[in-house]
């Protein structure tokens, strides 16, 4: 459980090399600089998707991650623009605020199961959008634009993080930042799932009654998991806002919440790295289909439907083979 096999280690090594060295090289060679933005988006969206996946791990279908991403984006933007905080402090603050909201909302709604929970979380995204429209601090429909780029951080005079505004290539810097955040997120998720909390989550996913009969405080763990999940959402959203340098009530909508869910389902719910793969395939696929103009959505949704029709247990189920993991 605490030991990583050589094969796994190699896999991780190859993966890290690919995203930190391989991708910049390829992009440099092909001149497709726009891929940086695409891949940065994939990294950030997969952080939020990781949260959705985690809620599924306790048996709840979460279609409300857009709400927490939006909350995170606004909290960070407000802290940076109105309170003059450094982005790097506003980032965890955004995560924690999203987690706090998740705890408050989670106490009543986590009692709901199945379709009910799915529906109420879907509604939640709409609530946050409307709240952003209604509150004065979020500037209503105008949203918040011209958010300054992350400033540099130095500790005892030693620069730790560079000033993004003074950089020639912010795309690359954001790409690296997003990738590091994504790796930290998935490393944490992997540890969590393979630790005792993960086992308790699995027991709850399979049978809440039995879990409580062996002494698992299911209400407490549900809240903890939902808070962690929303923390991921908040972080992803805040980083996104910083890259776009703007946040609007429409930055994360119901359709985004649905997409987060799709990322997880498509990657496969039985696999920690499923949401990462799902996000990559869906977002990148969507981006590649841009060339087809007005047929983009039609092709995208057709492929999506076909995948669900013929691979109902997710893309990673191909690797394991049918029925390998239920």
């Amino acid at each position: 459980m605490f030991n990583v096999s050589a094969k796994q280690l190699t896999g991780v090594g190859v993966f890290l090399f690919a995203i930190f060295v391989g991708v910049p090289l390829i992009i440099g060679a092909t001149g497709r600089w726009d891929f940086y933005f695409t891949l940065t988006s994939v990294a950030l969206l997969s952080i939020a998707s990781a949260g959705v996946w985690l809620t599924f791990y306790i048996g709840r279908i979460n279609i409300g991650q857009g709400a927490f991403a939006l909350i995170g984006a606004y909290v960070s933007a407000i802290l940076v623009v109105k309170a003059g905080w450094s982005f790097w402090i506003s980032l965890p603050a955004a995560g924690f605020f999203a987690a706090l909201v998740a705890i408050l909302i989670g106490i009543p709604i986590l009692r709901l199961r199945g379709v009910y929970f799915a529906m109420i979380t879907l509604v939640l995204t709409q609530v946050v959008t409307l709240t952003a429209l209604a509150l004065p601090i979020t500037n209503g429909a105008k949203g918040m634009s011209s958010i300054p780029l992350p400033s540099g951080v130095s500790l005892f005079g030693i620069p730790i993080l560079p000033d993004f505004a003074g950089m020639e290539n912010t795309k690359l810097a954001f790409y690296y930042t997003a990738c590091i955040l994504m790796i930290v997120t998935y490393a944490a998720l992997y540890r969590l799932v393979n630790s005792r909390l993960g086992h308790l989550c699995r027991s709850m996913q399979q049978n809440e009654e039995l879990a409580s009969s062996i002494g698992v405080n299911i209400a407490y763990i549900r809240i903890v998991i939902f808070a962690i999940s929303s923390f991921f959402g908040g972080i992803g959203g805040a980083m996104f806002g910083s890259i776009a340098q703007s946040v609007y009530p429409s930055s994360f909508q119901v359709v985004d919440s649905v997409n987060f869910m799709l990322n997880c389902f498509l990657g496969g719910l039985g696999y920690v790295f499923g949401p990462m793969l799902g996000t990559l395939v869906l977002y990148f696929g969507w981006d590649l289909l841009f060339e087809f103009g007005k047929y983009q959505m039609l092709i995208y949704s057709t492929v999506l439907i076909l995948i669900i029709r013929f691979l109902p247990n997710g893309l990673l189920s191909l690797r394991i083979g049918k029925g390998g993991d239920k």
Binding site: M1, F2, R191, L192, S195, R196, L197, H199, L200, R202, S203, Q206, N207, E209, L210, S212, S213, I214, G215, V216, N217, I218, A219, D325, K326
Partner: protein, 260 residues
């Protein structure tokens, strides 16, 4: 010696329906006590109230003098009163061993954060859980199926798995909900021996709800009989067998249920 569990004037009403009416009895330490009664007598409801899976309408259940009714199920489990389930309620996609390891949740010494970071205590816990799981499965005669997925098990093994999960929590009192249901004679006899050894070798007090009369008569130290939500008798198996009210209750419901 004061009783381990005291059921005091427990009543449960669902709307206008009374499932249990003013039921009182005691369970002594190291006893095997069965609750029997015709279908719909309120046995399962009574169990749910003892394990706090459902609140009482009035009355209370004490464990070592402390109230355990109207709490949360996990708190009652933590105190040492653990139930198993009537239906095949299991962790479907876990193996037998995984289920038993997870069920040792309450024995953990390290915190959740300790597990996340992989602290020393956590590592010790993991080793200890594994060893205890193997020991327990051997005790229950389930070593051979420890790697099986729970969904693939036959019904008899599923019941045993339910008991294994319950035992893994290190309970003082185990509440077994129809442990013999759907079993043939041989399976039942094996299960009877198993339940008895749980009491004899592990020092666990056992309460069970059951239909199977011969098994109940065989296994129980004492029996409580419910009918239409009321307690109509209690005593040793031989007392119960000769109790007119009990015979009447069973004859009045369905002949095939007596089986004695």
């Amino acid at each position: 010696m004061s009783p381990l569990i005291q059921v005091k004037n427990v009543t449960k009403k669902y709307g206008g329906l009374t499932a249990n009416n003013d039921i009182s009895f005691d369970v002594a330490e190291n006893e095997i006590l069965s609750v029997i009664g015709p279908n719909g007598a309120g046995k399962s409801t009574l169990f749910k109230m003892i394990s706090s899976f459902t609140p009482t309408t009035s009355g209370e259940v004490l464990y070592q003098g402390e109230r355990i009714s109207n709490l949360k199920p996990h708190i009652v489990a933590r105190k040492g009163v653990v139930r198993t389930f009537q239906e095949t309620t299991i962790f479907k996609s876990m193996t037998v061993r995984e289920s038993v390891v997870v069920a040792q949740h309450l024995r953990a010494k390290a915190s959740l954060a300790g597990y996340f970071w992989g602290s020393k205590t956590a590592k010790e816990d993991v080793t200890a859980f594994g060893e205890y799981a193997d020991e327990l499965l051997e005790f229950l005669g389930m070593s051979e199926i420890s790697g099986e997925q729970a969904t693939n098990l036959p019904q008899g093994s599923l019941r045993a798995l339910g008991i294994a999960i319950g035992l893994a929590t290190d309970p003082k009192v185990l509440l077994l909900d129809e442990p013999f249901a759907g079993m043939n004679h041989d399976e039942t006899m094996r299960m009877v021996d198993l339940v008895r050894s749980v009491r004899d070798e592990r020092g666990v007090t056992v309460m069970l709800v059951e239909h199977d009369m011969p098994a109940v008569m065989n296994i129980s130290d004492r029996i409580v009989v419910l009918n239409f939500g009321e307690k109509i008798a209690q005593g040793t198996p031989s007392e119960i067998q000769n109790n007119e009210k009990v015979i009447e209750a069973y004859l009045g419901s369905a002949d095939d249920e007596i089986g004695m």
